[in-house]
Every structure is written in C-alpha cells, then in structure tokens.
C-alpha cells in the first residue's frame, strides 16, 4: 500500500507539471467557462426582457390612447318627428325620405331644450352640440317604423366630436377638461346636459360600421377593413399559387445552370427591394401602361402580390428542400411520375412551411403603406367598398390619414385603428401557427 503510494508520489514528482497542470487548467477553465455561459444566458434573457419591455410600452401607449375611441358620447334630446318640418307627406317616397330635413328637427329639439338661448351666434353654437350626421339615425328610425312620424321621442343623439373630446377628457373634474375649439357657450350647454344626466358614453358601433369621414364622430374603419380584406384576397390568390409554382419549378425541374442562378440571385434581391419601388412599378405599368383604375383593391393586390412573391418563393423553396429525399425515392421506386411525386408527397409535406411563409408575406402585405400611396389608395374614400374594383383604402393607409388629421378626436381613432390592425395581425399569425400544427400532425 505504502509502496504504491510512494510510487504514485514519485510518479507525481517525476512529471509534476503535466500531471497537476492538466487538471488545474481544466478546473480553472471550467470556472471561466461557467462564467461565460452565465453571461451568455444573461445576454439572451436581457434581450428578451428588452423586447418585452418595448412591447409592453407600445401596447400601453396605444391602448391607453385608443381605448376611448370604442366609446362615443351621445346627448339625450326630446325629438319630435314633425311631418311639416321634415317635409314628408308620403313615407314610401324614397326621394322625400332622402331630402327630409332631419337636422332641422334636431335643431328644433335643441331650441326647445334651451329656450333661453336667443342670439343667432349662440344658437349656432347650440346646434353644433349634436353631430352634423346625427340626423341619419332619425331617417333609419323612420324607415324602420312609419308610426314614428308625428310622435315625440326621447332619443340619444350622436354628439359632435368637440363635445365628445370634452366629455372624455373631463372625467369628474371640470378643470382637467380639454376645451380646444369649444366655445364658452357650448361648454355651458354641455355642463347643463351633464348635470341633467342627458350625456352618456355608449359603445361606438359606428366605428366598426362606417367608412371614413371628415367628421371624427362619423368616421369608421369598416371601409379600410373591407379594403384590406379585398386587397389581401387579391394578393393571396395571386402570389400563393404563383409563388409555389415558381418554387416547385426552381427546386424540382430547373437544371442548375447560369440562367437559374441568375434568377435565384434576382429573387433574393427582389425580397430586399424597398416596397415603395413596387408602388412605382405599379404606377408605371398597371396605371400608365395598362390604364387600370386607381385606388382599387385589384391594383393594390397586384402590387402587393409582386412585393410578397419573393418571400413566398424563398420560404416555399426552403420548405420543399426540407422534404426528405427518401420519401421521393420511395414514391419513384414504385413508379410514381414526377408530378405524382410532387403532388402526393412533396407538396403535402412542404405545405406547412409554405403556408407559414405565405402568411408571413400576407402579414407584411397587410401592414404595407408605401406602395399603396403610389397607386392612389391614399384617397379620401367615404363609401365602404363592395368589391375588388371599388375605390378603397386599407388599414395602414387609414391610420396614416387619421394620424395626419388635426382634430383631436382622430388621435384616439388612430390608436384604435392601430389596435384593429394589430388584432388582425395577431389573428393571422395565430391562424398560421394553428394551421401549421394541424398539417404537421398528419406525419
């Protein structure tokens, strides 16, 4: 025992350096490696933390500014559907219904409510308490129920955006209120109405049911939503099949030569081209050369399809490449033709990846503004588009337009529109993840 120990120490002495230093060095390095590992992990964690912080900041800002747009101020008035004042003799006559002076009825109701206000100037202020579009509601009510004509009803009438802003900023303390363009007289009127409990904030259904308007309280996002949907429909139905066909050809049929290499380089370059260039292309080719109508989703969809094609082709090629060649060989080994191999085996296996790429492309297209500015989709369009050839705008352009508008009430609408856009993006991405999971389970 002691012998062997001695032997060991001798051995140790004979090569002191290499024997001890190897283990020491390893140990020393081990501590260093652990520290480096910790730093590395911390770096990743910090990056995620920073990203989350930015996200939280963005969301609180947008939601904080935008949530109030989902509620709208209404004023309660006792409105008389006076046939004479409305100038309606026959309720079935569309023309009479359209021409009737609903705003006059509202004005009369306001005059009755505030009989003390006499001077012309004050009356003008008084009339501006309700929205200039408040009368539309009366028409709808009359159309729905003819017996209303001649009756007197307690109605909630849409308030003007200045009143809306005032009421929303007022809270419980009058001193905090934002008056802006609101005159002293109007403020008095509103305070009286508030004291009577005749002012209320209701859910802003109008925001989701109307197109754009110069009057913030009448402006809605439906036109932009439909415009975006039609545009994306065109984009998807063009770029997805074309992108997949191109990817299949390049991956499975094209021989590797200088020409295909050239195409490949160009596709990669196109993916990095600034999107406004595609807008210029659309302007030059589709509008100037082919004389296509401006501001329509068909045109926007074409331009965005060109823009998303490289993304879809690149991701589809990657998905096709990832299909194990053994599966293709197996199919070929029992006599499947090339097309059968591709349709029966390659495409189903590559589909989740292709769809993910396509939906990322669609999300990119949904948020794209610049190319659409070039082809006139930045126009002020009030009507909700009913098809791909109706002039329309899209969500990001609507946000851009509203952000440019001076009325304070558009600030909250801008944020609300951003929330709607983000909502769409989240829905699309969730759908992409769900679809991917579902298709992959078939393995």
């Amino acid at each position: 025992m002691s012998d062997s120990q001695q032997d060991y120490s001798q051995l140790n002495n004979s090569e002191p350096r290499s024997k001890s230093s190897t283990i020491d060095l390893v140990n020393k390095n081990l501590a260093k490696r652990y520290r480096a590992e910790k730093r590395f992990r911390f770096l990743g964690l910090a990056s995620i933390g920073f990203g989350l912080l930015c996200l939280v900041f963005l969301f609180t800002d947008i939601i904080g500014k935008g949530h109030s747009a989902f509620f709208q101020t209404y004023v309660q008035l006792e409105v008389t559907f006076d046939a004479d004042r409305l100038d309606i003799t026959d309720l079935t006559d569309e023309n009479q219904l359209a021409m009737a002076d609903y705003q006059g009825v509202l004005k009369a109701a306001l005059r009755e409510r505030f009989p003390d206000i006499k001077s012309r100037k004050d009356k003008r202020d008084l009339y501006k308490v309700v929205s200039s579009g408040g009368g539309f509601e009366l028409r709808k009510m009359l159309e729905a129920d003819a017996s209303l004509l001649g009756s007197t009803q307690m109605l909630w009438v849409l308030a003007d955006d200045d009143i809306d802003t005032y009421v929303k900023s007022r809270g419980d303390n009058i001193d905090d209120a934002f008056t802006g363009r609101l005159s002293k007289k109007k403020q008095e009127v509103v305070e009286v109405l508030i004291a009577d409990g005749a002012v209320e904030k209701k859910f802003n259904a109008h925001f989701f049911a109307a197109g754009d308007s110069r009057e913030p309280e009448l402006a809605g996002i439906k036109g932009a939503i439909m415009g975006s949907l039609y545009t994306l429909l065109v984009t998807f139905s063009l770029s997805f099949p074309i992108g997949i066909a191109a990817a299949i050809y390049l991956e499975k049929y094209a021989r590797k030569n200088k020409f295909t290499e050239f195409i490949e380089v160009n596709i990669n370059n196109l993916a990095a081209v600034p999107s406004i260039i595609f807008g210029l292309l659309g302007l030059a080719i589709f509008i100037n050369f082919f004389s296509m109508p401006r501001s329509v989703p068909l045109l926007g969809g074409l331009v965005l399809a060109l823009m998303t094609l490289p993304t879809i082709i690149i991701s589809s090629r990657a998905a096709i490449k990832a299909v194990p060649p053994s599966i293709e060989e197996a199919a070929m080994g029992i006599g499947a033709s090339k097309m059968q191999v591709i349709l029966h085996h390659v495409l189903p296996l590559a589909m989740p990846g292709m769809l993910t790429g396509a939906i990322i492309g669609m999300a990119q297209a949904l948020g794209e503004t610049a190319p659409l500015l070039m082809i006139g989709m930045v126009a002020f369009i009030v009507d909700v588009p009913g098809g791909i050839t109706d002039p329309s705008t899209v969500l990001p352009v609507q946000i851009f337009l509203w952000a440019d508008s001076p009325e304070r009430a558009f600030v909250e609408r801008t944020s609300a529109a951003i929330m709607v856009l983000l909502g769409f993006l989240i829905v699309m991405n969730t759908f992409a993840v769900w679809l991917r999971k579902r298709l992959e389970r078939r393995w």
Binding site: R255, K256, P324, S326, I327, E328, E329, A330, A331, M332, G333, I334, G335, A336, S337, Q340, H344, H345, L349, R442, W443
Partner: protein, 268 residues
C-alpha cells in the same frame, strides 16, 4: 489492402440462359468520374442475386441503374445495353414509370410515406390505376401485407401511420408497398443495414419466400446475408465486376483471388 490492377474479364459465370435482366458493357459516369467499368451480367429469373464488395465499389450505383433511379441525378450518365425481358430499358422512347412498376426498389433506410399503413401499400396500386373498386384494393393491401409477413401484426391498425411502426416492420411495410404493384424484379439496396438482427432475420426469411415468385437483386455489406439468401453472388471491386458464381462456390472456393481476399476479411 491489396492494390493490384483489375484487368481481364469477369471470372465465373456472369451470363445465364434464363435471364430476366441482361446487362452488357455497362459504364456509369458521375460527371467525368467513371463509377462502373464495362460490366456484363445476367440476372436469372426467380432467383436472388447478391452483389457484394467493399464500400464505394459501385454495387449500389449498378443496382440503381437497373430501374433508372440514377436518372434523378443530373450528372449521372449510363452507357451500354440494359435489357429487361429483351427490351432496352434505356430506350429514349421507353416510359420510366411502367419500368419502375415492373422493377421495384427497396431502400437502405425504411422510408414509409407519412400516411396510414393502408395508404402506404395502396399507393402504388392507386397511381397505376390497377383497381377500380375498393374491395379489390383491400384485397391487394391484404395479400401484399401477407406476403411481406406483416399482416398479422398490423391488420387491426391499418389506418395508423406507417411511420409509427418499428424499423423492421417499416422495412417490411416498404417491401409490401413494392410488391403491391406486382413487380417482376425487386431491387434491394442494403435493406437490413438499419435493422437489428431479429428484424434482419425476418427480412431474410421473407426474401427467401419472395424469390419463388420474384427476381431479386440485393446489395449487401453482410457476407453472411449474401450467403444465406442468394443463389448467385456477384463481387464488385472498384467499379468492376470481378467474379460471378453460384453463392456456394463464391463463399467456399472463389475463382478470383480478390474475391477470396474480400470474403476472408483481408480487406473490405
């Protein structure tokens, strides 16, 4: 390793009277590199021929040119005459799809489709339009799985994914898939190299049974396997066919010294 020039013709008996496939002066190139040098070989009907040889000797390349699987490789070029029942399989007018239906292939790694067991076997019959009714298809699936010795193990779960089976079962599923289109020749490229000994034994048994009705060419790294399953054995070396003889003769008394060196384990 014995480095000696391999010259002269193939020794033994590369040619037979009842040839199912006959290859004459076959040269295969990958770009500028030649992989197969002037091979003459007959594959006898309803027999198993084993192709053995050290790695990189070209036996797999040769096998893959028998049903034109090499067509998928752009740079690959095959010269010479390769005939199936007297018909040139590299005839430009010949359609490769029916050829591959007649000459099926089983690969090194089990590669079932990510579909159900039933669909795996039924796929070939479907694409070739062999059946018109569902019952006929059921019958094909059942007989193919029975021939592959898999029926009893999977008959209750035909709609489960083929990829969920064990490695050996997957390989037998692939064999069932191949014989479902009733090929005349089955090419097997190291079918057992990814399997454990028990699964290997089952596949070998299966090959012996199949050889009654099918012509089989099998590439293998295992000399024991070649000895067990094959009637004739072809020894490839550096792209040349060195010797072809009855299996028993090759493993007991080879004609060529390179063959002897290989089977006695002096290289390989």
């Amino acid at each position: 390793m014995i480095e000696q020039p391999i010259s002269g013709p193939t020794v033994g008996h590369p040619l037979v009277d009842n040839a199912k496939m006959s290859m004459r002066d076959v040269n295969v190139f990958y770009g500028d590199k030649q992989a197969i040098f002037g091979v003459d070989l007959d594959i006898a009907e309803n027999q198993v021929i084993a192709m053995i040889g050290p790695s990189g000797c070209g036996k797999s390349t040769f096998l893959r040119s028998l049903n034109r699987m090499n067509d998928t490789i752009d740079i690959c070029r095959v010269e010479g005459t390769l005939k199936l029942d007297g018909q040139d399989i590299y005839d430009p007018k010949l359609d490769v799809v029916p050829l591959r239906a007649r000459v099926g292939m089983v690969f090194q790694k089990p590669n079932p489709f990510p579909k159900s067991i039933y669909d795996n076997v039924a796929y070939g019959a479907r694409i070739h339009g062999l059946v018109s009714r569902r019952t006929e298809l059921d019958e094909i699936v059942e007989t193919s799985l029975q021939k592959a010795g898999l029926w009893n193990e999977v008959k209750d779960r035909l709609d489960e994914p083929g990829t969920g089976l064990s490695g050996g079962q997957q390989q037998r599923l692939c064999i069932a898939r191949t014989i479902a289109v009733s090929p005349e020749v089955i090419l097997m490229d190291e079918p057992c190299s990814a399997l454990d000994p028990i699964a290997t034994a089952k596949i070998e048994e299966l090959i012996a049974e199949l050889s009654e009705n099918y012509t089989i060419a099998i590439v293998t790294h295992s000399m024991q396997q070649a000895a067990r399953v094959s009637h004739r054995t072809a020894y490839f070396h550096l792209g040349k066919l060195v010797e072809v003889n009855e299996t028993e003769k090759v493993f007991t008394n080879p004609d060529h010294e390179l063959t002897e060196a290989y089977i006695t384990g002096r290289f390989g």
